[in-house]
């Protein structure tokens, strides 16, 4: 495989970054994902973190170096991530499981497979146009589909953030899977959170991602989205990959990666953990101490009432 990849996540104007992004590749398979923890819910950041971690670990376990069935892998990994979030909530005695959107894409044998739940999107850009993008699992998207709302009015609509599918939470996610999509030389796959696609249109997205190498294009696109959103800028995250034909005799860009020489069991992983990466399991801050004590006492009281 030969491709160029770039990822970046920003906090925007929010207090914390609840987005998690990752990519990971073996000699023959590539995984990319974006998870956007749902802020209106408890511990959204944790849900995004768990989902990203779970799926990246599943990939490393199974892509040795190929996934036997990429579509099945995505289906199992997303279901597993959902349950990992529920289990964690149970262990922490959270009254409600936290939630996260998720979009994940696997490339193997020159074809892409993706799956998503929620409103984090995947775009496929080819020849300067958006040829495919994932459909949001949001109320506004449903209204557009039913002709109740014009697409141009959607981004101001109050239902924009109302999602009917996500990982975690009380309902089983409705995961949508793409068909197997063969890639052509120069195709760009871009996965992003709504902090990116919300403020900018498709035109801006195409312009930034195709005009310059991704390592410049993605930061410029995020700059643009952040500027347009102004003081309301949400977390902004994107993983973008440009596919190169391995046999293409054209000059290889200095930034492109060829996995041809990778060892069979080798993985390269980049998981942006931002705020959660600073402390290993051993660190316990003041908030966590307070929270642990509160949780224990809540449990004690809960059981006392039954007595």
């Amino acid at each position: 495989m030969r491709f160029t990849i770039y990822q970046e996540s920003r906090t925007g104007q929010r207090a914390s970054n609840q987005d998690r992004i990752a990519h990971c590749y073996s000699r023959e398979a590539l995984l990319m994902l974006v998870a956007d923890g749902m802020g209106g819910h408890l511990h959204g950041e944790l849900a995004a973190h768990l989902a990203a971690q779970y799926i990246a670990q599943a990939f490393q376990r199974e892509a040795r170096p190929r996934l036997p069935d990429p579509g099945l892998f995505l289906s199992r990994a997303l279901a597993g991530a959902h349950h990992a979030i529920l289990d964690d909530a149970l262990d922490r005695l959270l009254p409600e499981a936290p939630r996260t959107t998720l979009v994940a894409c696997v490339v193997q044998d020159g074809a892409a497979y993706w799956a998503h739940a929620g409103d984090s999107r995947l775009y496929l850009l080819r020849g300067g146009h958006v040829v495919t993008r994932s459909r949001d699992h949001s109320r506004t998207q449903l209204m557009i589909d039913q002709g109740l709302l014009q697409p141009e009015d959607a981004h101001n609509h109050p239902g924009r953030n109302r999602l009917y599918s996500c990982l975690g939470g009380n309902h089983a996610p409705q995961v949508e899977h793409s068909p197997r999509t063969p890639l052509r030389d120069g195709d760009i796959l871009a996965l992003c959170s709504d902090g990116v696609w919300g403020p900018v249109g498709d035109d801006s997205l195409v312009t930034h991602l195709t005009a310059t190498p991704l390592s410049q294009g993605v930061p410029r696109l995020l700059d643009d989205a952040e500027r347009r959103a102004g003081p309301n800028a949400d977390n902004l995250s994107m993983v973008a990959m440009c596919w190169h034909d391995e046999d293409n005799p054209g000059p290889a860009s200095a930034e492109s990666i060829s996995t041809r020489t990778m060892a069979i069991d080798d993985f390269t992983t980049r998981l942006d953990m931002t705020s959660m990466s600073k402390g290993p399991a051993s660190d316990l801050n003041e908030d966590e101490i307070e929270r642990a004590i509160r949780e224990i006492n809540e449990t004690i009281r809960k059981f006392d009432q039954k007595r």
Partner: protein, 315 residues
């Protein structure tokens, strides 16, 4: 260099809403106090105070934690919270009840129901083993009710031993000290490995990455039963795994106890986890049903409380 012992809080010390009466026990990881709450109800308070990481000098209240130990101290605190979390979920007459959890003096405290009585360890010491068979069966059958509750919550105790089994004055047992308790599914790698008690810990507890499960607690129950019969703990399981010098009690104590009870003890103490009873329920059933056809008064179990009282006495 032996680590300096921590000083206990003095008598009369007002700790949150509790008044310290005296120190009950001192461990490497904590101090347990007898204290009274605002209504003068006695409680047991366990103070997180790992000897190797924190030092409280005489006359001081706040322990000193050096910068190099701060991270480990916090990590240990996390383990202390795990114990709290584990116990908070359990409400069973044979499992110690947690009443409150709070922060003070730069550390954390767990308040538990105070039970009057003595530990099975003290009881065994006093009688040099050779506990009456009826007492053994009755105490352990009830204790296993508590352990079943523990396992039903996907927890393992991992430190069952006579000094963690408390006999109330009415003879009913209470399982104490969940400091080593662990969520069976937890993936945390312990940095501070819990200290297991030689003789009572199962062989798999000495191994790295071994599968711990109900069978691990069952080994410890077997070891506690062994001590009740012989007066001392069985040889260390890690040493047994090299050269097994354990004599089956079915042989050494034949005639003094019912053969079925002795065989049960030997069964629990098998080095191979799969060779032991696989569930607490199986073990409990064997403890209660001595053997088919044994005569037992109709009201044997309903009358257990008073029988136990007569065995143990009020003081």
């Amino acid at each position: 260099m032996p680590s300096q012992a921590n000083c206990a809080l003095p008598q009369g010390f007002q700790l949150d809403q509790y008044r310290i009466e005296r120190q009950l026990s001192l461990g490497g990881f904590s101090i347990v106090y007898l204290a009274f709450d605002a209504h003068d109800t006695p409680v047991a308070i366990k103070e997180y105070l790992p000897n190797s990481l924190a030092l409280r000098k005489d006359g001081e209240t706040e322990p000193q934690v050096s910068d190099e130990h701060r991270l480990a101290f916090r990590y240990g605190m996390k383990c202390f919270f795990e114990e709290g979390r584990a116990l908070a979920k359990l409400m069973h007459p044979n499992v110690v009840r947690v009443l409150n959890f709070f922060r003070a003096n730069g550390t954390v405290y767990m308040v538990m129901q105070f039970e009057r009585g003595r530990t099975l360890h003290d009881y065994i010491q006093k009688h040099r083993g050779e506990l009456k068979e009826m007492l053994i069966r009755a105490v352990f059958a009830r204790l296993l009710n508590g352990l079943r509750e523990v396992h039903a919550h996907k927890l393992l105790h991992l430190d069952i031993k006579p000094s963690n089994i408390y006999l109330r004055n009415d003879g009913t047992p209470v399982l104490l000290d969940f400091g080593a308790a662990r969520q069976t599914l937890a993936s945390d790698q312990p940095v501070l490995k819990p200290m297991y008690t030689p003789g009572y810990a199962a062989p798999e507890q000495y191994e790295k990455d071994a599968q711990l499960g109900p069978w691990t607690d069952i080994y410890s129950v077997g070891a506690a039963l062994y001590a009740s019969v012989t007066g001392s703990a069985p040889p260390r399981a890690d040493e047994r795994a090299v050269t097994d010098v354990l004599q089956p009690v079915a042989r050494t104590h034949a005639g003094r106890y019912d053969a079925q009870l002795l065989e049960l003890i030997d069964w629990c103490l098998q080095l191979d986890p799969l060779a032991r009873p696989q569930s607490v329920y199986a073990l409990q059933k064997a403890l209660i049903h001595r053997h088919a056809g044994a005569d037992r008064p109709e009201n044997w179990f309903s009358d257990l409380g008073s029988r136990l009282r007569s065995f143990i006495g009020r003081t």
